[in-house]
């Protein structure tokens, strides 16, 4: 165990290369329980479940690629990844934040109900399915790049923002928005999704209503973009007057009509 200093603050370093996940995570749990508030995991290469179920205010910095279910079911930690994350980052998390300088895999933020996930790059499929929100700590997921199919399916609360920072948008009205895949927001019955650019009607099937806005007109959207920019040290001021499509549920009961409720 060694200590290093990052940004003038002492951090405990865990050399993670080749350490099986169970040992690595036991060590993290032990140190967090002992009151360590800043940990640096060096050489992480696919270890799963890092930070799963942890509580508290500790900050975890990860160098390398974090494995599946990073920060799953956690409540309160602040995780910063210098690299990519595999599937399931922030799965069912209820508080805290995960900031990823690279890209994220599938099921990022599945069923999260509180806290913040900021992805600088792209995110995979099934992202933000069944997101919810708690009153004291709203759930938000901001993706700097693009997202795959099934984004925000069954969404019940919280906010998803897709910025597409490096992706040029098409100008023709009916051409596909390249930032999203198929089945965007199907079954959505709560929360809000903002996608940069216009989305042609054919690209949305589901029970949502759409509108156009800009960060300038929509302070909540601008707030999330500013938090994203601050968390990842990026300049997003150019987005202030960009067009975004805002998706909201048409109703809170998307499937009620499919059933015969009579007694």
């Amino acid at each position: 165990m060694i200590r290093t200093t990052v940004g003038g603050r002492a951090m405990k370093v865990i050399e993670s290369k080749g350490v099986p996940y169970r040992e690595l995570n036991r060590e993290i749990r032990r140190l967090v329980a002992a009151g360590e508030d800043r940990l640096l995991l060096r050489g992480v290469n696919g270890q799963r479940y890092i930070g799963a179920g942890l509580k508290g205010m500790a900050r975890l910095e990860i160098e390398g690629t974090a494995g599946n279910n990073l920060g799953a079911m956690m409540n309160g930690l602040s995780i910063y990844v210098h690299g990519n994350v595999q599937d399931g980052a922030g799965n069912t998390m209820s508080g805290g934040e995960i900031v990823v300088r690279g890209s994220a895999g599938d099921i990022t933020g599945y069923a999260m109900r509180g806290g913040k996930i900021l992805i600088q790059g792209n995110a995979g499929w099934r992202v933000g399915i069944h997101m919810k929100s708690r009153e004291d700590q709203p759930a938000v997921l901001v993706i700097g790049g693009k997202a795959g199919d099934f984004l925000g399916e069954y969404m019940a609360g919280g906010t998803i923002v897709v910025l597409g920072l490096d992706t040029p948008l098409h100008q023709e009205r009916e051409s596909a928005n390249p930032l999203i895949g198929n089945y965007l927001a199907s079954g959505m019955h709560g929360g809000t999704i903002y996608i940069r650019g216009r989305i042609p009607a054919w690209q949305i099937r589901g029970q949502v209503q759409t509108g156009l806005t800009t960060p300038e007109e929509s302070p909540p959207l601008w707030n999330w973009i500013e938090q994203f920019a601050a968390g990842l040290h990026l300049d997003c001021s150019g987005l202030f007057r960009e067009i975004f499509t805002c998706l909201m549920p048409q109703g809170a009961r998307p499937y009620a009509h499919l059933y015969d409720h009579s007694a």
């Binding site: 996940y21 169970r22 995570n25 036991r26 749990r29 799963r48 479940y49 799963a52 179920g53 942890l54 509580k55 599946n68 279910n69 799953a72 079911m73 956690m74 409540n75 599937d87 399931g88 799965n91 069912t92 209820s94 508080g95 099921i107 599945y110 069923a111 109900r113 509180g114 099934r126 399915i129 069944h130 919810k132 929100s133 708690r134 009153e135 099934f150 399916e153 069954y154 019940a156 609360g157 079954g187 019955h189 709560g190 809170a252 009961r253 998307p254 499937y255 009620a256 009509h257 499919l258 059933y259 015969d260 409720h261 009579s262 007694a263």
Partner: protein
């Protein structure tokens, strides 16, 4: 609006001679059947009646009677009244018909074709009133071997055992969420579980703070909607149960209708008030056995390997292979929910036409796990249609460690099996969130009734075992020699692993 072709399912008969117009029926009915007319007469709207019997039981003068409305046209052996009604209803609504509780159709009930054994002369029976009978059981992963360390005379177990949960009798209350049932009903179950030394299950609706004192007897469920799942919830449960499927609706998700999602439930679940609480059909982070393993180990990591993780599936045709995969994925407890398993709401066609009776499911899974040398590693829990202590013991003889009770527990609390939980209008105050109805279940009095039921079953269980000359539940588990089949063809006997009645040991 065109006139409905759907005839009422039940007819309400009021004996005008006995009726004192006290209006108790009007107050008691959650479905708004009874109403006072302009001439002070109380009349009934048969169309709304679900035959829950609340008004009949509560009428102080016994003036009410409800009968099935059988005269609805030329029904025949093929086109039953129920089929006719379904078609008329769907022709009007265009929707899948919803229902509640377990499959009620006339499929074979294997419990009713199995008989238990008893001792006579050659080995004595045991008097449970005199001898101690061991009906305690432990759920969780069993180590493959025990290592002992220490100097002679002071030997100790080397290393910790995997986490185990003790049940004072081999039953638990099945998963019923706060949302599908009322808070008072959940509290009654929790109190009874604590008093009996068994477990209750939160279901997938998260944990109401009022359940704090009962956490040592609580199983917390993680279902596809992940409602209320956070680190505090996982910490609170003694067992964590991943719900993959439910016997009443195998392979499909669940929708708690918005009518039942009041502010408190919305808060517990983290969704908008009045929104449907939707549990998707699969967990979208589990598309394979390998993915299941990841969720199992995520939960184990999140709780520092301190709690057994159960996986509950609906019993389906390939259940033995699936259960084997679940054990290999790392589950400590496998729960099989059979065809008769109940629900707060399910499409009727799904409930009534998918699945496997739990008797067969337990028998084939127990056999498969034994063949593969896995059975001793895990606990097997049966759910779905356990109606009596006899069913309980039979399912244990077929291979279960314990059984879940859902419907039986609700019946003990006053449920009359009207199968309308999905409406949220339950006149018995069980499957509703309407405060004027939920107060009808008193948690303390309800717990007393549940404790009475289980105490009676406990005694019957001991009588059964004593009669067989067996004094420990351990010796009953998978003990098919204590069972014989009657009226079953050979292939069914083979699947159950049971001999024909008349065959000796």
């Amino acid at each position: 609006m065109p006139r409905s072709l759907v005839p009422p399912e039940f007819l309400v008969h009021r004996d005008e001679g006995r009726c004192t117009k006290c209006k108790a029926c009007i107050r008691q009915c959650g479905f708004g059947v009874h109403a006072e007319g302009p001439d002070d007469r109380i009349s009934a709207n048969d169309q709304r009646c679900v035959n829950c019997q609340r008004c009949v039981v509560m009428c102080p003068t016994g003036a009410l009677k409800i009968t099935a409305n059988k005269e609805i046209g030329r029904e025949n052996a093929y086109w039953s009244a129920e089929r006719l009604r379904e078609i008329w209803r769907q022709a009007e609504s265009g929707g899948a018909i919803l229902t509640s509780m377990g499959c009620d159709r006339n499929y074979p009930v294997y419990f009713d074709h199995l008989l238990l054994n008893a001792s006579q002369v050659t080995n004595p029976s045991i008097d449970p009133l005199r001898e101690p009978m061991e009906i305690r059981t432990f759920l969780g992963r069993k180590p493959e071997k025990l290592s002992i360390a220490g100097p002679p005379g002071e030997e100790r177990l080397a290393g910790p055992l995997p986490p185990e949960v003790r049940l004072e009798m081999p039953v638990m209350f099945a998963a019923m969420s706060f949302g599908s049932i009322s808070k008072n009903t959940v509290l009654a179950l929790a109190k009874a579980a604590k008093r009996m030394g068994i477990m209750f299950n939160t279901g997938e609706g998260g944990m109401n703070p009022a359940l704090g004192p009962f956490r040592d007897h609580m199983i917390v469920q993680v279902a596809s909607g992940r409602f209320g799942v956070d680190s505090a919830y996982l910490e609170a449960g003694r067992i964590i149960e991943i719900k993959i499927g439910q016997g009443a609706k195998p392979g499909i998700g669940g929708h708690l209708p918005g009518e039942k999602v009041n502010a408190e439930i919305a808060r517990t679940r983290g969704i908008p008030t009045g929104a449907d609480a939707i549990s998707p059909a699969p967990h979208h982070d589990i598309y394979s056995i390998e993915d299941l393993r990841q969720l199992i180990y995520t939960l184990k990591e999140a709780t520092d390997y301190q709690k057994p993780v159960a996986v509950k599936i609906a019993a389906v045709h390939n259940v033995a292979a699936i259960a084997s995969g679940i054990v290999r994925a790392g589950a400590d407890i496998v729960v099989l929910d059979g065809l008769r398993g109940g629900t707060g709401a399910a499409p009727k066609m799904i409930r009534d036409h998918i699945g496997l009776p739990v008797e067969l499911a337990i028998a084939v899974v127990d056999r498969r796990l034994r063949e593969e040398g896995l059975r001793e590693q895990v606990s097997l829990v049966a759910g779905g249609g356990i109606r009596s202590s006899a069913d309980l013991l039979k399912v244990i003889c077929l291979g279960a460690d314990a059984a879940y009770l859902g419907t039986a527990a609700l019946l003990a609390l006053g449920c009359h099996l009207c199968q309308r939980c999905y409406t949220g209008k339950c006149s018995w105050g069980i499957a509703t969130q309407d405060p004027s109805l939920t107060k009808r279940v008193d948690p303390e009095a309800g717990a007393d009734r549940l404790v009475n039921l289980l105490t009676a079953w406990q005694h019957e269980l001991k009588e059964f075992m004593g009669a067989m000359g067996i004094n420990a539940l351990e010796s009953m588990r998978g003990n098919r020699l204590q069972l014989r089949g009657v009226g079953l063809p050979q292939n069914e006997l083979d699947q159950l692993g049971v001999k024909q009645a008349g065959e000796a040991m």
